[in-house]
Symmetry: C2
Subunit: 143 residues, 2 copies
DNA sequence: TATATTTAGTTAACTTTGTTAATTATTAGC
DNA sequence: GCTAATAATTAACAAAGTTAACTAAATATA
């Protein structure tokens, strides 16, 4: 790695530690960060399937199956069997699930607000642009 | 959240999913991503203590204790009891541990290289600067 | 049409890694 | 010198990941 890459590597390491430290810790409103992320995904991808969720979070079907079971039993999401393909269940959030997403200030939101407070509007836009550019390139190359 | 914050939030969400997806997956050279991160930390903080490692990764002393035990038993790191305070053990990497850090292209390194390929040098420097600014502000406010 | 293959999701058994509570050994404060 | 605090470990447990095996439904093929 050259100097610029090393400098990026340093700060990206900090970022990774920060993100990991803020995951999987105690519940807020009865859901962990992972639960929250799944609920939010389903909220934003209404009528999606378990397979899609598993893929989005890169975890195995049994793992997502257990998570969805928990979220259904606790009233955050619900599922409906597809008429077109009865193997498939379409997922959607309940009122309670929607409430959680709309009302809990999550970790990413506090980071976004922190970023907005620290940077000028131009800088924030620039950061978003550059990060998106990297993400779309790196993630795209990954499969 | 305003529009700029929302845009940042979107891409930060992708980034979080990406980082989480690349953690805790199968071994490379016999160590998981978590093991690797601990070895690298000890490499960069020679003679550090278990307590420091636990704090750096925001996990409990027993959790780090088990990880260190694994890394010692498998020859990646070693510990030496402090003379000044015999409760304390100073950690350092072995030749094998150093080899792992020096030779395995890790996830963050591939992101750094990807970023460097996608962005101009000026853009990469800008991204590093902005990310560092946000990190130091947000992490600093967190305790 | 009947049979074989593929697919979505679940269950079971297990592993890893986190947690808290209790314990040990050592240091530091009155 | 006794008491409180600290670094690390052990034990018991919980959460969440994995693979393998299974069910039910859809699709492909002979």
């Amino acid at each position: 790695m050259n100097q610029s890459q090393k400098e990026f590597y340093e700060v990206f390491t900090e970022l990774q530690c920060f993100i990991l430290a803020n995951m999987q810790k105690g519940d807020i409103n009865g859901v962990t960060a992972t639960h929250y992320n799944i609920i939010e995904y389903i909220y934003r991808h209404n009528k999606c399937t378990g397979k899609q969720v598993a893929k989005a979070f890169s975890i195995s079907p049994p793992a997502i199956s257990r998570q969805l079971k928990f979220l259904i039993e606790n009233g955050f999401i619900e599922q409906e069997q597809s008429r077109a393909d009865r193997r498939v269940f379409h997922l959607s959030v309940t009122g309670q699930g929607r409430f959680i997403v709309d009302n809990s200030e999550n970790f990413r939101e506090s980071v976004a607000k922190g970023a907005s407070k620290t940077l000028t509007k131009t800088e924030l836009k620039s950061l978003t642009f550059l990060l998106a550019k990297v993400m779309h390139n790196v993630v795209g190359n990954d499969h």
